[in-house]
Amino acid sequence: MGLVEWVAGPWQVGDWMWRGMLTVHMVAIGCAVLGVFLYLRRMSLLADALAHVALPGIAAAFLISGSLDAPVLLTGAVVVGLLSALSIETLASRPNIRSDAAIGIVFTSFFAVGVILLSTVMRDAHIDTECLLFGDVLGVTDQTIWLVVTVVPAVLLLVVLFYRWLAVSSFDPRFAAAIGIPVTLVNYGLMTSVTVTVVAGFEAVGAILVIALIIVPGATAHLLADRLVVMIAIAISHAVASCWLGMYAAIAFNTSAAGAIVVVGGILYLLAFLFAPRHGRLLPKSGGKRRRSGVGDQRAEREGVAT
């Protein structure tokens, strides 16, 4: 069997390959673009929190409405997601709770509630907990496909429309506020977009692996580029490459496609971490060494944790 047949093979047997690839590309690209902005805002771990919190959001929406329709579940997830973001901010404003502890307290508690709801009162509701956690790329339903092909382009359109607001407030929120950009609104808009994208991708990639799709492309792009547009382009390329390589790896080893996509993404990040032309650890250019151990940088890193 030649390489071409091997690559073409899965596309010719049934339609699961088309469906899976379409869904996972949509989710991965949406997550990658949003992830770049989250990364620049040092809000990567908020993505972690929002992804975990979407689980109780979905559970609560189902409990209240009794329906499993996408708009209902999305609304529930967004409401609970924003609620958790508000609780995190409120807790973090106490002098003896740091912001990372606030994130950790809120999302684990919400997640625990979600798990208990799913395993007790919702046991008969045909929600597959394992699927919500780990995803099932090859078994996506029509509803999920429709959801991602509407939600992700809409989110990307919003990013394009509000690109300048997003960009300026990501790099310098004070300056953004000074020139009249509604920083808080942009912030909550971004969080809502993340939640919506995460929920759309739930069935395909699951609650925990979607975190990788958000954080890893942006982090890779930051190792390779300095300009925002280039970063976004690299993040999207990273997402697409992970999808293709991961999908075929999953087929070859007969394992979870979502997991394989995430692992490939991680390997790509590691390659960038080691071999990036200017910021790679193994190929230091002149001057790189001193910058790396700069005290100011480390202090900024320390103080910038999850703000």
Binding site: S109, A212, G218, F253, I261, G266, Y269, A276, G294
Partner: protein
């Protein structure tokens, strides 16, 4: 009467009607103790979420160790005994969890990698590796994969007496190690620069703390699960900060609240069918945290509010 069933079950549990109950209870309380102890140092240093990364990072180790066991068995060198099997899984968890913690520590030392991103990357990518291995195991034709899922959300009832004694011994060793290195750890926690100035080997202490974190996580995952172990590292110490202004006080409150949460978690998951130990334990801890947030003597909202009222009244009186 449905309430009677729950009361009956609670009594059943508390009077140790079944042989596994004391061990399930002990393992859950142990989680509260070791996580409360190690978590305090992490929370005070602003390193809370590294526990989340370490917890998720143990999954590939558990699955990988399982695969190694299956492979060895296929070659006729099977390890005898359930206990050896589960110890092997825990060693796997320790290796990959420790690797995850060290990777966060290593990756976040540099201008181009942010610590929060490093935590997120390690957490999700290691978990991805774990899922890949777990899915692969589910496709294998061995009848023994049952039990691996209980690592996700924890099942204290599955802790056997032999396993419990292994966990308890390691937990005791961990507590002794923290006690021995208490002073340098405390100095490092509050003032890294000063610690270096007085000659404390800060990199070694740092790695030691990450090692202690990995051990605490590994001792906990059977009861609380890999996803929620972070909660037990973060929530009890955060509650402790509202209860005391001294490090030893915070540790004592954190360990105590953690242990009680562990107890309540084990009890709840026994009484209510379908409730896993981990989430129940976490919600108990959250309840204590909320109480501490309002009524804690150090920065509790109620006292702050009262003080503000009194000040407003005093100002109103002078005006």
């Amino acid at each position: 009467m449905s309430e009677n069933i729950y009361i009956e079950r609670a009594l059943e549990f508390l009077t140790f009607q079944y042989g596994f109950v004391p061990y399930a209870l002990g393992a859950s309380v142990l989680v509260g103790v070791v996580c409360g102890l190690v978590g305090t140092f992490l929370v005070l240093r602003g390193f809370s979420l590294i526990g989340d990364a370490t917890g998720h990072a143990t999954l590939p180790g558990v699955a990988g160790a399982f695969l190694v066991l299956v492979w060895l068995e296929g070659r006729g060198i099977g390890i005898s005994g359930e206990l050896h099997n589960s110890v092997a899984l825990l060693v796997g968890a320790l290796v990959s969890g420790g690797l995850g913690a060290l990777t966060v520590g290593l990756f976040s030392r540099g201008p181009r990698v942010r610590r929060d991103a490093a935590i997120g990357i390690v957490l999700s990518v290691f978990f991805g590796v774990g899922i890949v291995l777990l899915t692969y195991i589910q496709g294998l034709e061995t009848g023994r994969q049952a039990g691996l899922e209980s690592f996700l959300f924890g099942r204290a009832a599955g802790v056997t007496p032999g396993e419990f004694w292994v966990l308890a011994t390691a937990g005791a060793a961990l507590c002794i190690a923290v006690a021995v290195f208490f002073r340098p750890l405390a100095i490092l926690t509050f003032d890294e620069g000063y610690a270096r100035a007085v000659g404390i080997n800060t990199p070694a202490m740092e790695i030691g703390l990450l090692g202690a974190l990995s051990v605490a996580v590994v001792l906990s995952i059977q009861s609380v699960g890999v996803i929620l172990v972070a909660a037990m590292l973060i929530i009890p110490p955060s509650a402790g900060r509202f209860m005391s202004g001294r490090l030893t006080g915070v540790i004592a409150w954190s360990v105590g609240l953690g242990a009680v949460s562990g107890f309540l978690g084990a009890l709840t998951s026994y009484v209510f069918e379908g409730v896993a130990t981990g989430p129940a334990m976490v919600l108990a801890a959250t309840a204590f945290f909320v109480l501490a947030l309002f009524f804690g003597p150090h920065g509790g909202l109620l006292w702050l509010w009262l003080r503000r009222q009194r000040r407003a009244r005093a100002e109103g009186g002078t005006a």
